[in-house]
């Protein structure tokens, strides 16, 4: 670990001013500190935002506003979340461990970095860690890597669960920055690697996440299916977040997001359009999966994710529509 200074911001303004001075935000520290120990990240100035008071959950007529500092544990336990946006609670509880969820925050979770083993290992080439050095994962051990949204430069997944649920729920990320406040639809928050995998999201320098807004509840059946190598405490191989409403035996409305499948939390509106108005059937699920995965490409060890995603989608739609 390199030496660094740590300041505690007491409100949003003092946090922003520290960020303008070149500081890096630290919230729960469950991801950042690990990366600093390995010197994958080497900030020399940290500003902790844990005392900024951005840790409340507020409900109004537009929906729910979850502060950036609300811990994953508190968010998942919130009665409003559990009742009206159960998908979010389910996704959070499918992630990490109770200890980590007690510490991890809403903003930090959105910004968590990939779990690509080559990214964490400074003896290896990685364009995300060191732009231009190459991508060791592409021809390496890439079992956990993405099959959608990849580029020549990087094939790493966004590994988290919470953001996948938020994507299905049409959440909006609220930020404050040097140029004032912004509202970023979550679908535009994470960025695909393209030629510059070093930037995971569309936050601008000096910008701080202050909250995430969830629109009014849909009342649909909400399911989070996380497929993984062991029953708990493992990142998803593929996950599916679904919010589905039925009417007269047909799918009336549906939103679907996928985790650990693409380089970003993945949503494909064309798949949803294909499903709406249809009667659920195995054949329909196959059609939806074919459309979802038409551009999917494996890199060897992760080829299995393509059939797995199709199966996870079928299982989720089956469950969501048979009840």
């Amino acid at each position: 670990m390199k030496s660094f200074t740590l300041d505690h911001a007491t409100d949003t303004d003092s946090a922003l001013s520290a960020l303008r001075g070149g500081a890096t935000t630290i919230a729960g520290g469950t991801n950042l500190v690990d990366l600093m120990k390995l010197q994958v990240e080497t900030p020399d100035r940290l500003v902790s935002i844990r005392r900024t008071g951005l840790d409340t959950i507020v409900e109004d007529q537009d929906g729910l506003r979850v502060g950036a500092l609300v811990t994953n544990a508190d968010c998942a336990a919130d009665q409003r979340v559990r009742t009206s946006w159960p998908l979010l609670a389910k996704a959070i509880l499918a992630g990490a461990s109770p200890q980590l969820r007690n510490r991890a925050t809403t903003g930090g979770n959105l910004c968590q970095r990939t779990r690509c083993g080559y990214f964490y290992d400074t003896s290896q080439a990685c364009n995300k860690r060191e732009p231009g050095s190459g991508c060791a994962a592409r021809d390496g051990f890439n079992r956990i890597h993405a099959v959608l949204g990849t580029s020549e430069a990087c094939i790493a997944t966004y590994p988290g669960d919470m953001a996948v649920a938020m994507l299905a729920l049409d959440a909006v990320v609220l930020t404050q920055g040097p140029n004032g406040a912004r509202e970023i639809p979550i679908a535009e928050f994470h960025r695909m690697p393209g030629e510059d995998p070093s930037r995971d999201n569309t936050l601008k320098p000096g910008e701080l996440i202050t909250a995430v807004r969830l629109p009014a509840p849909t009342g649909g059946v909400q399911i989070y299916r996380k497929v993984r190598d062991r029953a708990s405490y493992a990142f998803a191989l593929v996950s599916v977040a679904a919010d589905v409403s039925m009417e007269g035996g047909r799918i009336a409305r549906c939103s679907l997001a996928f985790g650990s499948l693409g380089t970003v939390p993945w949503r494909d509106r064309a798949v949803e359009e294909l499903l709406v108005g249809e009667t659920p059937s195995p054949a329909l699920y196959t059609k939806a999966a074919d459309l979802l995965l038409k551009d999917a490409r494996g890199f060897g060890h992760n080829d299995f994710k393509i059939p797995l995603a199709a199966r996870a989608l079928a299982a989720t739609l089956h469950e969501a529509t048979q009840g």
Binding site: M1, K2, S3, K37, Q39, R115, G117, Y118, D121, T122, S123, Q124, A136, D139, G140, F141, R143, V227, R228, D229, R230, A231, S232, Y233, A234, L237, P282, F304, P307, L308, R311, A312, A314, A315, H318, E319
Partner: protein, 744 residues
């Protein structure tokens, strides 16, 4: 005055003494006396000792697999804040020591044998400074011009028979396969495993003049003293190791590891204590691994399923010149019949960290494959898998003709099957579906060789009638403190709170160490021997025959004679050292612990995820010394079996040889949610040939075949006959039936 009373175990001790003593503590499910310290965080583990002026060392690991270190750019690092030294001493080790080596491992850190091998140690005032400096150290390498293979199955890998080859050949296996009514000829693979002990390897070294003192985490202290002394070219008498608590080892702490030698060298140079703690990644990358295996199993049976031929041939790997070869066929030698046989292990010489003993070397992976192949035979013959095992238990060890000392395999199979409800199993796959899950059952036999090794222990019966047991035996979380106290309490007629056990210090008599499931029976036999000598002295004092002496609750009785121990001792302590040496019983009998596993799994019809729903294990391992700690050992073994079946795999990048999943986030051991209710049945057995305690080893038994039962259950659930461990969902999916099809 202490005497040493030695017994060489040449003939079975059939007196069965512990069944005639009267205290009644032996075998009882007593709590571990050190348990409260451990769960309250007040047991001091190796890195937690506090010493003034302790400097901190961090190892630097190579970023090439093979070659030499040409230059370390030390100066820049020495100029960094707090840095005290950069060491690349030729006495530092580049390989881990094999268990019971008792001599220095391969040294000389400027040659690189495998990726991430230690090449230097950076020492600084604080851990953070040392770690930063270690990462900053620039190294020039010259890569080897003639590198050896990185993968045992690559065509470039040099393959040889190991020196200690235990090849068994008898009759004509080819012919038996040809003549057989049923012949199974299958190839399985198991991946490399990490020991994955909870406590990382750590040492604090300090010198008192020419004497070296180490607080560290090791399994076999008497050997470790010799190993480190050999590295440093000093007299082993001048080394003391203190390791009262060890947070798991699973083989990786049998021999001395890199951090200990490096800390000792640094402490000598800096003239102050030096602590070196390996990071989790460094532990994964540099300590002993279990070799991956490729195993060909051939089973030839007659129409009734009786084996007429048995082949088990394995390819394992290690670094060049390492003698250890994963003894995959160890239990195959004696478990089932079939006179026509070929058992053989070959070693590919490759560049990966040293392969050595990890959790039941041999049987853990050998049995899981043999037992999976047996399931394939049961299906071919169309008989119940339990019945197939029973039909194939030979009267004597095939080829060798040795007699079995004891074997409760039939009892384990029957009682396990009964308790589990094996009769509910449907023989054909894909018969039971609950919601989205296919449900199946599988079973396997368990077997693990028994070993008695040299051990010494001192027992003091104090003038006040309390006892003290002392040996350098380690407790690696297994229950050594508990069972050694129970043996002494039983032999001396003392309630357990009157016995104090002190372990893990090489200034005490040399116990067996913790490895190969031999610690309890070997060191326990030494304790028993010392107690026998004390009993003789007590009977003389009371005026009776030793055989007629009754000791209970601190009182000695014989007929009408009765006296409290403190009166009998008349103000004197009795101190005796007991010593056990293995003898002829080791050759005269085939000794092993046996058992049977039963598992029920659920396989997700869509995603191929497998979850174990319940497991039963029944085990016979001679006398049960403590029903609670023995049960815990069996439970732990079965949990590792879940890992071996479903999740554990060392993943190497075959381009440069580095280990990709070098931490507990990516190397998946089972977590709580993966472990269902596990039932353990302990069978009462006495084995006089195994040890004077009439006990056999239990530590590793619970893993030896467990993964086979799970694999067989996966097949029974969904029809996926997988031969490539671990059975991750990507391997299951291609075999799954249409999830929407009606269940037949």
């Amino acid at each position: 005055m202490s005497r040493t009373d030695t017994v060489t175990y040449d003939s079975p001790d059939t007196r069965n003494l512990l069944d005639h003593t009267r205290q009644g503590v032996i075998g009882k499910p007593l709590d571990r006396p050190e348990g409260p310290l451990k769960v309250s965080g007040s047991a001091t583990y190796s890195a937690e000792w506090k010493f003034d002026d302790c400097a901190e060392g961090v190892l630097v690991l190579a970023t090439i697999a093979q070659g030499t270190v040409q230059r370390l750019h030390k100066q820049r690092v020495l100029d960094m804040p707090g840095v005290l030294a950069v060491l690349a001493d030729e006495a530092m080790t580049r390989r881990s020591t094999q268990g019971t080596a008792g001599e220095a491992p391969v040294q000389g850190v400027h040659t690189v044998d495998y990726f991430a091998q230690p090449i230097a140690l950076v020492v600084a005032e604080t851990f953070e400074q040392a770690r930063d400096a270690a990462l900053a150290l620039e190294v020039d390498y010259v890569e080897s011009k003639s590198p050896i293979a990185l993968d045992p199955e690559s065509p470039d890998a040099e393959v040889e028979d190991p020196d200690n080859s235990e090849t068994v050949e008898g009759g004509d296996l080819e012919k038996a396969m040809h003549d057989a009514a049923f012949a199974i000829d299958v190839e399985y693979r198991t991946p490399g495993h990490a020991s994955a002990a909870m406590e990382p390897h750590a040492t604090i070294a300090q010198w008192h003049g020419d004497r070296l003192e180490l607080h560290g985490s090791y399994q076999m202290l008497a050997y470790n003293v010799k190993e480190i002394a050999d590295c440093l070219s000093i007299d082993p008498e001048k080394v003391r190791i203190i390791a009262p608590y060890v947070g798991g080892g699973f083989g990786s702490k049998l021999g001395i590891t890199h951090e200990a030698v490096a800390a000792a060298i640094a402490a000598r140079q800096l003239k102050r204590p030096v602590r070196v703690v390996m990071s989790r990644q460094q532990v994964f990358e540099t300590v002993m691994r279990r070799s991956e295996t490729r195993q060909r199993v051939r089973l030839a049976s007659d129409a009734s399923g009786k084996l007429i031929g048995l082949g088990h041939e394995a390819l394992v790997s290690n670094l060049p010149d390492e003698e250890f070869a994963e003894p995959v066929t160890q239990a195959t030698e004696f478990l089932y019949g079939g006179e026509n046989r070929l058992l053989k292990v070959e070693v590919a010489r490759i560049s990966r960290m040293t392969a050595g003993s990890v959790r039941a070397p041999g049987e853990a992976v050998g049995m899981q494959v043999l037992e999976a192949a047996m399931d394939e035979l049961a299906e071919a013959v169309d008989i119940d898998p339990v019945e197939l095992r029973k039909r194939n238990l030979p009267a004597k060890v095939p080829v060798e003709g040795t007699a079995y000392s004891s074997r409760m395999l039939v009892e384990a199979l029957d009682q396990g099957a009964e308790a589990f409800g094996w009769d509910q199993r449907r023989p054909r796959p894909c018969q039971t579906r609950e919601g989205d899950w296919w449900i199946g059952m599988g079973m396997a036999s368990a077997a693990r060789v028994n070993m008695l090794v040299p051990a010494e222990a001192r027992v003091t019966l104090k003038a006040d009638g309390a006892a003290l047991v002392e040996t350098d035996q380690t407790d690696i979380g297994t229950g050594s403190y508990a069972i050694l106290g129970q043996i002494a309490g039983e032999m001396l007629g003392l309630p357990i709170d009157r016995v104090n056990v002190v372990l893990g210090d090489t200034s005490l008599p040399a116990g067996a160490g913790s490895g190969g499931s031999f610690g309890a029976i070997s060191t326990g036999s030494a304790v028993m021997r010392a107690c026998e000598a004390i009993r003789t002295t007590l009977s003389e004092a009371l005026g009776c025959d030793t055989d007629a002496l009754d000791l209970k609750d601190g009182t000695a009785t014989s007929g009408d004679l009765s006296q409290s121990l403190s009166d009998l001792l008349g103000g004197n302590d009795i101190v005796e050292t007991g010593k056990i040496e293995p003898g002829k019983t080791a050759e005269d009998f085939s000794q092993a612990s046996y058992g049977a596993f039963f598992a029920e799994v659920a396989v997700h019809a869509f995603t191929g995820e497998t979850r174990v729903r319940r497991m039963t294990g029944a085990f016979g391992f001679g006398r049960v010394l403590n029903a609670k700690t023995a049960r815990s050992q069996c439970l732990g073994g079965m949990v590792w079996g879940i890992g071996s079946a479903l999740t554990e795999e060392l993943a190497f990048d075959l381009r440069d040889g580095h280990l990709v999943n070098h931490d507990l986030a990516e190397y998946h051991v089972p977590v709580h949610a993966d472990v269902p209710a596990i039932e353990v049945i302990l069978l009462e057995e006495r084995d006089a040939a195994a040890s004077p305690l009439q006990a056999k080893g239990v530590g590793e038994l619970g893993i030896c075949g467990a993964a086979g039962a799970i694999t067989n259950a996966i097949y029974n659930a969904c029809g996926a006959r997988l031969r490539n461990f671990p059975m991750t969902l990507d391997k299951v999916i291609p075999h799954l039936p249409d999830p929407f099809a009606e269940v037949a």
